[in-house]
């Protein structure tokens, strides 16, 4: 599956548009997790647990978008956009990752 952010595929012809496909996932870092990563920082080992989890949440969203596009019979997604939203209110610990694009099929 070809996933692009560009609106066209240069040198290839798009034969059919299947419409919008989306994928999203939530990343809820609990207070305890924060606490223990803080503890780990103190004990010595530097951690970027949050960044790792962010990457895995993004990959999950990407995968669910890809599955939807495959179900529609597309072989590429164009005009893809990635957005991160903060859902946590005053605690601010929940992050939503959304990915959306247009499922198309192009001539190989």
């Amino acid at each position: 599956m070809l996933i692009l952010t560009t609106p066209t595929i240069e040198g290839k012809k798009i034969i059919e548009y299947y419409g919008l496909v989306t994928g999203d996932s939530l990343l809820g870092a609990s207070m305890y997790k924060d606490m223990f990563s803080g503890v780990r920082d103190v004990v010595g080992g530097r951690t970027s647990k949050y960044e790792e989890e962010l990457t895995s949440a993004r990959n999950m969203a990407l995968k669910s978008m890809e599955e939807k596009a495959e179900k529609k019979g597309a072989n590429a997604i164009i005009g893809t956009r990635v957005a991160y939203h903060n859902l946590g209110g005053t605690m601010g610990n929940t992050i939503m990752v959304t990915i959306f694009g247009t499922a198309v099929s192009y001539q190989e």
């Binding site: 070809l2 996933i3 692009l4 952010t5 560009t6 609106p7 066209t8 595929i9 240069e10 040198g11 207070m31 924060d34 606490m35 803080g38 503890v39 920082d41 103190v42 004990v43 010595g44 530097r46 951690t47 970027s48 949050y50 960044e51 962010l54 990457t55 993004r58 990407l62 893809t80 956009r81 990635v82 957005a83 991160y84 939203h85 903060n86 946590g88 209110g89 005053t90 605690m91 601010g92 610990n93 992050i95």
Partner: protein
């Protein structure tokens, strides 16, 4: 001037009515409590009952007629009035003993402060209390090494790891990064796919709890964040992804900033996304 004031009164007539009615209900209940000496656990129940009933009446009327809550102004007014009466003029209206500081007064004061300044109390509960708890735990964890005489090395607050990519690194690329989908004068050999890079930057923690409390009401300074470094890190991670997939450049690079963290301290997610291609 007069017309605008009149308009304001007409628009907010239900809010004002709700506040006045709530205050009247609270005041009446306080008077009843004083007259009949409704005392439980050696404590007049008006200190809890009157602000509560005032707040309930006000909120119900405001929700029904005004459409939204007015923020329990009458509860605060009632609380102030009966406390002035209880602390400074005991026995003026009806003979009774003065207010003494007890567990119940403390709870009542806490509840009223929470109704008046919700963000402040939430900051105290969720940030100051939790933060003190975390400090206590880390102190306990560090205790053995302090006793043994070699305190652990605590590194700075920034979570920035990996190779630093600076402007020189970006200038050294054979093909510049562009934020447009098409570049004239060349040919895209092959599309490789979507590449993303992320970095999290935390606000520099400086000073104690008090200055952090002040920061919640002060405007932010750009110097407090290491945003440039985080942006370079996000771009370099994206480029690393692209290189590992066999591409030689990235088209249509977009950079996004999202604020996370709420009251517990500020952090930013910086993300860079683009389309990796083989370009000639």
């Amino acid at each position: 001037m007069l017309a605008s004031r009149k308009n304001f009164l007409i628009e907010n007539r239900w809010a004002i009515t709700a506040v006045i009615l709530g205050f009247l209900v609270g005041f009446t209940s306080a008077v009843i409590c004083v007259v009949f000496q409704l005392i439980i656990f050696g404590f007049n129940i008006m200190y809890i009952l009157s602000p509560l009933s005032a707040g309930v009446v006000e909120t119900v009327i405001a929700r029904r007629k005004y459409g939204k809550s007015t923020g329990a102004i009458s509860a605060l007014l009632t609380f102030i009035v009966i406390n002035i009466y209880g602390w400074f003029f005991p026995g003026w209206f009806y003979p009774k003993g003065p207010v003494t500081l007890s567990f119940i007064t403390l709870i009542a004061i806490g509840l009223t402060i929470d109704a008046a300044f919700p963000i402040f109390t939430r900051y105290v509960l969720k940030v100051v209390v939790v933060g003190s708890f975390i400090r206590f735990i880390s102190f306990l964890l560090n205790l053995p090494s302090i006793i043994l005489g070699n305190p652990p090395v605590v590194e700075g607050g920034e979570i920035i790891i990996g190779q630093p990519s600076d402007e020189i690194y970006l200038d050294g690329l054979t093909m510049p990064l562009v934020s447009v989908p098409h570049v004239d004068g060349g040919e895209i050999k092959k599309y490789v796919g979507l590449v993303i890079g992320e970095a999290i930057v935390e606000e520099k923690k400086s000073g104690g709890r008090f200055s952090n409390l002040l920061k919640t009401i002060q405007p932010k300074k750009l110097d407090d964040m290491n945003l440039g470094e985080a942006r370079r890190l996000a771009i370099s991670r994206m480029l690393d992804n692209a290189k590992s997939m066999g591409a030689n450049t990235v088209l249509e690079v977009l950079i996004n900033y999202v604020s996370v963290g709420g009251l517990q301290g500020n952090a930013f997610i910086v993300s860079a996304s683009g389309t990796a291609v083989i370009y000639e």
